[in-house]
Amino acid sequence: MALLSTHGLTARYGQFQALFGVDIELGEGECVAIIGANGAGKTTLMRSISGVLRNAPASVRLRGEEIGALPADEVMKRGISMVPEGRRLFPSLTVEENLLIGGQVRKGSGYWTLERIYALFPILAERRRNAGTALSGGQQQMVAIGRALMANPDVLLCDEISLGLAPVVIKDIYKAVPLIRESGASMIVVEQDIGQALKVADRVYCMMEGRVTLSGRPEELTREAIHAAYFGVQHA
């Protein structure tokens, strides 16, 4: 049985339908990447899984339990944490408080503590008393990842963690992924950067216009197949 799965997941914003029957699976210990262009529905998928958008109960399952209709705080307590798009640090909280609040309600296995987060991203220890929003974009992303890890989630959802960051910073952030996986978290990583996604993931789903258009292991996917699934263009 998959750790996390979606079953015919649909989502709407008013009249606009953003997802059309999406089925994805995440196995225990796996890292899955979701790629796709802007507007493909990747963020909507993350918001649906995390409970920010509510769905039919059976459309999202965690270890078989139907969690599609639960509010975000209940989903989080069951072990799914999210690094939201745009980082969304709390401006009134310091770096350390932003981290602490991530583990305030759920501590999980207890592997990730303030000390371990600071060991993972040493710069945050130096800036612990600063306002979270006073940091650079890359440092803010580290806080957002650390904040989600503080709950010791079974599933970590990372939405566009490299968006708007310099390549050297992206490298630093992706260095953390193997450590996060060793700590026992399975991951879903949403990426627009196809190269980065193929490097880090065990399996890849490609989305376009609210549907999954391609899935498979990175080594099985040809460049042409990805282009077709990503842009909707067929190569001759």
Binding site: G51, M76, K77, M82, S92, I101, G102, Q104, V105
Partner: protein, 287 residues
């Protein structure tokens, strides 16, 4: 006329206004909710203390310890059942609903307790005074002011030193992201209103012991509370104390010049502060 005495009395009076205002400031700071029933809730708490005093025959200071948890529970339920439903982008629904609650409370209290003025029995403390540096300082005003400072110190400790306070600030910043941290915003808001009504109860204790009250005086207390909050800067608790003190001093100085000017002088001070600092004295940087 002794100016020092007038100013000291004004500062102490400001403590009462700060107590009126602290709950309003807390609720506004966390959920941007302007509670127009705030003054009537103070009067309701005063009647609750009065009922406990009459039934059990105990002092108001003891009665308040029974009233505090009851008012917390009322605030929690009020927020969960009514106010959470109207919170949102639009600020008009909460204004209308709390205005409605204000009217309902005034009429219900009129039915239940009649329009007669009442007072909480302060005991000997009501007339006791201390001689400090040649000034005659009433124990009751001093207690009121000390309570206001204590309330604000405790609130600040909760805000900046506890997990609950962290959740208050995070939810106030971004309720959706707070829910991703496992926090249920509706429960956080309910706890905030519960705490606000505990402060209201402390305000009611001093209001009821220092002066007569009847079911109709809530809206005037709301005005003083509003002025203190706005002078201090929306959402700043120490600012709220400063705001209360400014109104208090303006009122006693106004009254010292001409007794008819007391209330007017407080409102004029409010307008003057707004002319000079439209966002109040200590506005929050994030707003």
């Amino acid at each position: 006329m002794n100016w020092l005495d007038t100013i000291v009395q004004g500062v102490l009076l400001g403590g009462l206004y700060a107590l009126f205002a602290a709950g309003l400031s807390l609720v506004f700071g966390i959920m941007r909710l302007v509670n127009l029933a705030h003054g009537d809730l103070i009067v309701l708490a005063a009647y609750l203390i009065l009922v406990i005093v009459s039934v059990l025959g105990i002092s108001p200071f003891l009665a308040v310890t029974i009233a505090l948890p009851l008012m917390f529970a009322s605030g929690y339920v009020l927020q969960r059942v009514v106010l959470n439903r109207v919170l949102g982008e639009d600020i008009l629904p909460p204004l209308l609903v709390t205005f409605g609650i204000s009217v309902v409370l005034q009429n219900t209290m009129q039915e239940a307790f009649s329009a007669d003025t009442r007072r909480l029995p302060p005991g000997d403390i009501g007339t006791a005074s201390l001689q400090v540096a040649g000034l005659n300082i009433g124990v009751m005003p001093l207690l009121t002011f000390a309570s206001a400072v204590l309330v604000i110190v405790v609130l600040n400790q909760i805000f900046y030193r506890t997990a609950l306070g962290r959740a208050f600030r995070a939810t106030s910043d971004d309720a959706t992201t707070a829910s991703l941290m496992g926090i249920r915003p509706s429960r956080i808001f309910a706890q905030a209103t519960g705490i606000a009504l505990m402060i209201v109860t402390i305000a009611a204790l001093y209001l009821g012991m220092r002066a007569n009250f009847d079911p109709s005086i809530g809206p005037a207390r709301l005005i003083y509370a509003f002025e203190a909050v706005i002078i201090g800067g929306l959402g700043s608790l120490w600012g709220t104390l400063a705001g209360g003190v400014i109104i208090g001093v303006a009122q006693t100085v106004g009254a010292a010049i001409n007794p008819e000017w007391q209330i007017l002088a407080g409102h004029v001070a409010f307008l003057l502060v707004l002319l000079v600092k439209p966002r109040g004295l200590f506005p929050r940087a994030v707003d």
